[in-house]
Each structure stands twice: as structure tokens, then as C-alpha cells.
């Protein structure tokens, strides 16, 4: 069973988006990347992102992740920002009572798109 299903599906993701987005937007390290974006569209994208990293139904590809973040990479998006977002993701799931081992699973999925989001070639592990 996926983390998505264990959390309770789409309704739970809606609740998670609110918490996650507030954490991200309230973080001065990264909030500038959200200046001028439409908050509803951004929340819809975050819902899609949370759905993906928790293993819910999605059709996102590395290519989507790459093109969606290219503009931010040109504005200086880097590993530190990515780590901060993953930290907020973990914090959100913890607030929702998700067990640490499941949070680790989710973080691993997020980790798998790091190079796409930061516009790099996949690095050898």
C-alpha cells in the first residue's frame, strides 16, 4: 500500500498541501521563488507533487519537473533550497502523524527527482 493510500488519498493530500505550502511560503530562504505566482495554481501543483512523492496516481515525468523548474534554476535555485523543501515535506507529514519510516520513503522519492528539478544530469550514486 502506498503512503498516499495510507494517508487517506486525495482528501488527506488537500490537508497536507495547506500545511506544506504555508511552511514553504513562510521560509525566507525560499519564499522569493514564489513571488508573483498564482497561489491557487501553485497549490494545485503542490498537490500534484505531494501526490507523486507519496505514490498516488500521477503521470509526471522527469521532463515535466525539469521544464517546470528551469526558470527557478536560472534564478539561483540550488541544493540548499531543495533540501529546505524536502525538510518542509517531512515536517508536514510528521504533523499529520505519518511514521518516520514512511516519511523516509517519501523523501527518497523526492530525492529521485532532485537532479531533474535542479536541471542537472543524473549523478552516479
Amino acid at each position: 500500500m502506498s503512503v498516499y493510500e495510507q494517508l487517506g488519498g486525495a482528501a488527506a493530500i488537500d490537508a497536507a498541501v495547506d500545511i506544506f505550502y504555508r511552511k514553504v511560503l513562510g521560509d525566507d530562504q525560499i519564499s522569493r521563488f514564489f513571488d508573483g505566482v498564482d497561489m491557487e495554481q501553485q497549490a494545485a501543483k503542490q498537490k500534484a507533487f505531494l501526490t507523486m512523492v507519496t505514490g498516488g496516481p500521477n503521470n509526471y515525468s522527469g521532463k515535466d519537473m525539469r521544464s517546470a523548474h528551469a526558470r527557478l534554476v536560472s534564478q539561483g535555485l540550488d541544493d540548499g533550497h531543495f533540501d529546505a523543501v524536502v525538510g518542509h515535506l517531512g515536517g508536514t507529514l510528521k504533523e499529520l502523524g505519518v511514521a518516520d519510516e514512511l516519511i523516509a520513503q517519501v523523501a527518497a522519492v523526492a530525492e529521485s527527482v532532485r537532479d531533474d528539478i535542479l536541471g542537472r544530469q543524473k549523478q552516479a550514486v
Binding site: A10, Y21, G26, A44, K45
Partner: protein, 319 residues
């Protein structure tokens, strides 16, 4: 299997197929992204037939009322006639133009036949010459007119025309649209209503609607203007503001020295509301102020779904 009609063509759905997949198979170009009912890129509108509740999860109530649905999630059990998620249109006449202090005008229009709306929603007005601008509706559906509040911009192509037009002039109205209206989900919920400039138009409509519905929670109303002359609707707001649960704050950036009303609407709002937790929030006015307040309201605890905002974006102005 049911079929969908789109742009004059009928496409038979295959077993288990979504409306999006059927349209793509038939060669139509429909934008889409996540294909999982999240990103809303593939929204279309059902003119006839029921797209199914699953295809409307997460859409705004006003979008649902218009028949909008996500085509990637739609597996209808009946035939659908679908179109782009655009707006219905009708012709109306101008009834009345009234100057209201400063550059603010009250415009009243005929109500199109069968026009169902909520005060605070907006319409697109199309004037001769195919110029389009969006305006919020300050009127209530029981009023015998549609009322708009318009700032006459210098060189404004629509506002200049509207504020000098004669009664009887013909216009096209498209809509209604938008979710900036009183939704009466919880009569005890605190409401925060902020209208800046002619953003007061939808706020006035929401306030009237809330009080008509005997809303019991506190209602904080903030009106902001550029100058004290433009703090329009004074008598109407003071009358509504006398209700026990209403706090009315009116402020303007400029005015006679020492006038206690001088102040910034964004700052006054944040002073009046240190926390937005549990509040239903309506924000209307210039885009920069509305977006700044929206972010603050969200960071101070309002749920995103409980913030309705209408950022007004001025049309391109020719010098």
C-alpha cells in the same frame, strides 16, 4: 457507451476512457498535464449533461456551477455536450451613470434575461469596438439592475466610454464568473472583507448578502481608497456597519491633514486581524495589494480555499 459533442463533432467514448483521452484520440488538441485530476490544465465546460462529481473535485464552487470539469477525470454515464470553459454572453442597455466623488462612478445596466448571479461575482463587459474589461457586480440579484463601480482612469478606453455614455447605449455582458461571493457555509465563521478602491464593489455585495443571511460571526470590513474623497458608499456602509457584529474600518492614503481616516488598507487590515485562523476572507482591489494581503492572510492561518480574492488588473492604457 455515451458520447461527447465538441466543436460540432461527436466522439463515442470507449469503455473506461476519459473525455480527455477520447478527444485526443479524435484528433482534438486539448491542453493537459498531470492527467490525475490535480493540475486543472484540462478543464472544459459541460453545456449539457453531467460530467460526474469525480471530475469536479477541487474546482471552485463557481466553476462547478458553470459546469466546468476536468476532462482527464470525466468518465460520464450520459452524453455530454462540451465547450471551452468560456462564459455565456448577452446584450444589455446602460441604464444610469452617476459620479460618486473623485474618479469613482456608479454604473447601472439592465439585467439580462435569465441572468443568475451572486453579488460579488464579476462580468466581462464588451463595448462597441470589441473592447473587453472585467467588472465586479455590487448589486444583489433582487435589484432591478446590475450595478458596477468604475474608476475613470485617465485615457481609460472602457472607463472613459462608460462614464460618458448615454443611457440606452448597448453593451455585451459575459458571465457571471468568479467566486467572490458570500457562500454561507458557516454562519458563525468570522468574515474579513477588504475592498480597496472600486474593490469595494464586490465587498459591498458580500456584506449585504451576509447580513441578509443573518450571518452571526464577526464581520470585519476594511475599505481603502486613494483619497478620502473616494471613500464612497459612506451612508450605505455606515448603515450596514451599525449591525452588532460588524466592525467597519475606512481609510485612505491621502486626505486633509490630521484626518483620522488617513492610513494604508493593508496595514490597517493586518493590525485589525493578527490572526486569520478560521476566518473566511474576501480581498478585492489592486493586484499588488490583494496579492500581498492574500499571502499574509494565508501565512497567518487562513486556509487557501477560504480566501476569495479578486485582484483588479487595469487594462492596457494608451498614452
Amino acid at each position: 457507451m455515451p458520447s461527447v459533442s465538441y466543436r460540432g463533432e461527436r466522439v463515442e467514448l470507449e469503455a473506461g476512457e476519459s473525455v480527455l483521452d477520447a478527444l485526443l484520440r479524435a484528433g482534438f488538441e486539448v491542453p493537459s498535464s498531470c492527467r490525475a485530476g490535480a493540475c486543472q490544465a484540462c478543464v472544459l465546460r459541460a453545456e449539457n449533461g453531467e460530467p460526474g462529481a469525480e471530475a469536479q473535485v477541487g474546482l471552485r464552487p463557481a466553476q462547478r456551477d458553470l459546469g466546468c470539469f476536468m476532462s482527464c477525470m470525466a468518465r460520464p454515464s450520459e452524453d455530454l455536450e462540451i465547450a471551452e470553459a468560456g462564459l455565456p454572453s448577452s446584450k444589455v442597455r446602460l441604464l444610469d451613470v452617476l459620479g460618486w466623488g473623485g474618479e469613482i462612478f456608479r454604473i447601472r445596466l439592465e439585467v439580462p434575461l435569465g441572468f443568475a448571479y451572486r453579488g460579488g461575482q464579476y462580468v466581462q463587459l464588451v463595448r462597441p469596438g470589441a473592447l473587453i474589461r472585467a467588472y465586479s457586480l455590487a448589486s444583489h440579484p433582487e435589484d432591478p439592475w446590475l450595478e458596477l463601480h468604475v474608476r475613470n482612469h485617465p485615457h481609460g478606453k472602457m472607463s472613459g466610454w462608460l462614464t460618458s455614455a448615454e443611457p440606452g447605449a448597448e453593451l455585451e455582458v459575459r458571465g457571471p464568473a468568479g467566486d467572490c461571493y458570500y457562500q454561507a457555509e458557516d454562519p458563525n465563521q468570522p468574515l474579513v472583507l477588504v475592498g480597496m478602491g472600486t474593490g469595494m464593489s464586490p465587498i459591498y455585495a458580500v456584506l449585504r448578502d451576509a447580513l441578509r443571511a443573518a450571518h452571526r460571526g464577526t464581520i470585519t470590513v476594511i475599505q481603502g481608497a486613494r483619497t478620502t474623497d473616494e471613500l464612497y458608499l459612506e451612508a450605505e456602509l455606515e448603515a450596514l456597519g451599525s449591525a452588532r457584529n460588524v466592525t467597519l474600518i475606512r481609510c485612505a492614503l491621502e486626505g486633509p491633514p490630521g484626518d483620522p481616516r488617513i492610513g494604508d488598507a493593508v496595514e490597517r487590515t493586518l493590525e485589525a486581524c493578527p490572526s486569520f485562523k478560521g476566518c473566511r476572507v474576501f480581498l478585492c482591489g489592486g493586484a499588488a495589494q490583494v496579492n500581498a494581503l492574500k499571502r499574509q492572510a494565508f501565512l497567518r492561518g487562513a486556509r487557501l480555499q477560504e480566501i476569495s480574492s479578486d485582484p483588479f488588473i487595469s487594462g492596457a492604457v494608451s498614452a
